[in-house]
Symmetry: C2
Subunit: 219 residues, 2 copies
C-alpha cells in the first residue's frame, strides 16, 4: 500500500509535523468518521454540504438523491474537496493563544465521477452501509432497481490526499507553566450507547451484535 505523494495542494506548509501521507493512517481516519463535508463550486462560489460516505479500497463514495442540488452540481466531473474531521479532545493551555484541539482530519481533492452501472452503485451502497454498521447489509432489504435509479452515487479516487493530526497535552510558553491555571485535555469520546428500538418493531428481535457496544474505533 503506497503512501500519498504530496501535491501543491496537499503539501502542508505550516506545522508540517502534523501532516501525514500515510495511506493506512488516512484509511483509519476515514473508516472511523461518519460524516464528510463535500465542497464544490457553484456559480463560482463555494458550497459545503455534510453527508455520509463509504470507502472501498482506494475509492470514496458519497450518495444522495438524484434530485439534490449537490448532485446536480457534481454531475459533470466537477472538482470536489472532501474533508473528514474527528475531534478527539479540547486542549486547555495556560494562555488563550495556545488553546487547541486534538483532532484527526483528512482532506481529499479530486474529480467526482457519477456511477451509472447499477451493479457498481449497489456495491457502493454496500460499502456505505457496512461503513456505518459492519454486518448489517446482509440483514436488511436490498435496494430495488427503482431505488437505485433515484440514488446518485459519486466516486472520488483516493489519490490527492493528506491528513493532519494533533495529539497530546497543551504546549505552553515556558514562562506560562508557572501560572496557577488548570491545564490539560478534555477528551471527547463517544462511548458505546444503548440503541433505541423502533416502536413498531416486535420486541423479540434482539439488538444485533454489531450494534451492541457500538464504537467507531476500528483499530
Amino acid at each position: 500500500m503506497s503512501d500519498f505523494t504530496p501535491t501543491e495542494r496537499t503539501q502542508l506548509h505550516r506545522l508540517p509535523k502534523r501532516g501525514l501521507y500515510d495511506r493506512a493512517e488516512v484509511y483509519r481516519i476515514l473508516d472511523e468518521g461518519l460524516v464528510c463535508h463535500v465542497g464544490f463550486v457553484a456559480d463560482g462560489k463555494p458550497v459545503v454540504i455534510p453527508t455520509g460516505y463509504g470507502r472501498k479500497d482506494d475509492k470514496l463514495y458519497v450518495h444522495g438523491s438524484t434530485a439534490s442540488r449537490m448532485f446536480r452540481a457534481l454531475g459533470a466531473g466537477a472538482d470536489v474537496c472532501i474533508t473528514v474531521t474527528l475531534v478527539d479532545g479540547l486542549v486547555m493551555a495556560r494562555s488563550a493563544f495556545h488553546h487547541s484541539m486534538n483532532y484527526r482530519s483528512v482532506v481529499i481533492f479530486g474529480k467526482a465521477t457519477v456511477l451509472e452501472d447499477p451493479a457498481a452503485k449497489r456495491e457502493a451502497l454496500h460499502a456505505f452501509v457496512e461503513h456505518v454498521a459492519p454486518g448489517r447489509w446482509q440483514e436488511i432489504r436490498q435496494p430495488t432497481d427503482k431505488e437505485l435509479q433515484v440514488t446518485t452515487v459519486i466516486e472520488i479516487p483516493l489519490e490527492e490526499v493528506s491528513a493532519k493530526v494533533r495529539t497530546g497535552p497543551p504546549i505552553d510558553d515556558e514562562a506560562d507553566y508557572a501560572l496557577p491555571v488548570w491545564a490539560g485535555v478534555l477528551p471527547l469520546e463517544i462511548p458505546p450507547q444503548t440503541p433505541i428500538p423502533d416502536v413498531r418493531m416486535p420486541k423479540e428481535i434482539a439488538v444485533p451484535e454489531y450494534l451492541r457496544n457500538y464504537s467507531r474505533k476500528r483499530r
Copy 2:
C-alpha cells in the same frame, strides 16, 4: 430576533420540512458545535478546511495563523461557505434505502472580513475561548500584542443561513415493517468526560467547574 430569509442558495428544495430559518435554533446548533468546515475557492477549485470558531451575536469568527494558506486565500473579502454539523444518531431502517442519520447542520454563506483592529480581534478571541469553555477566558493569560499580530481573525455575518435537522425513528416503506430486522436509532452522544490534567501542572489546582460534567448541550 428575526428569522433568516431564504435566498436562492439557502432555500431548501428537497425535504423542505427539514429546513429551518429560525435564528434561535440556528444559534443553538452553532453554540453546541465545536468545529466548522470552511469552504472557499482557490484557483477556481474548492477547498474545505476544518477549524474552530466562535459566535458573538450575529457574527461568526474563525481564526488561525496569519501564515496559513486558508487565511491568505480569504484575505480579500472572499466568498466562503461555513458548515457546522452535529451527528445525533444513526438511523437503522429495515431497507438499505431508508438508512439515515439524525443530525443538525447549519450552512452559512457570506463574505469574509479580516479584522484589523486589535480590540476587535481580542473580542473575537474572547468569543472563541468562551465558545469552548464558558468561564475560562478570565482565568488564562490574555493574548499579547504580538500574538494578536500573528493571528488572523475573520468575521462572517450571520445573514444568509439555513439549518437542516433530522430527528426520530426510521421511516420505512409500509411493507418493510413486517421484516424481521432490528430497526431503531443508535444515539451518538458525547457524555461528560474526565479531564486529563497536564503532567506539568501542580496537583493542587482543581478542575474548574466549567470542565466538570462538561457538555456541549447549551439548552
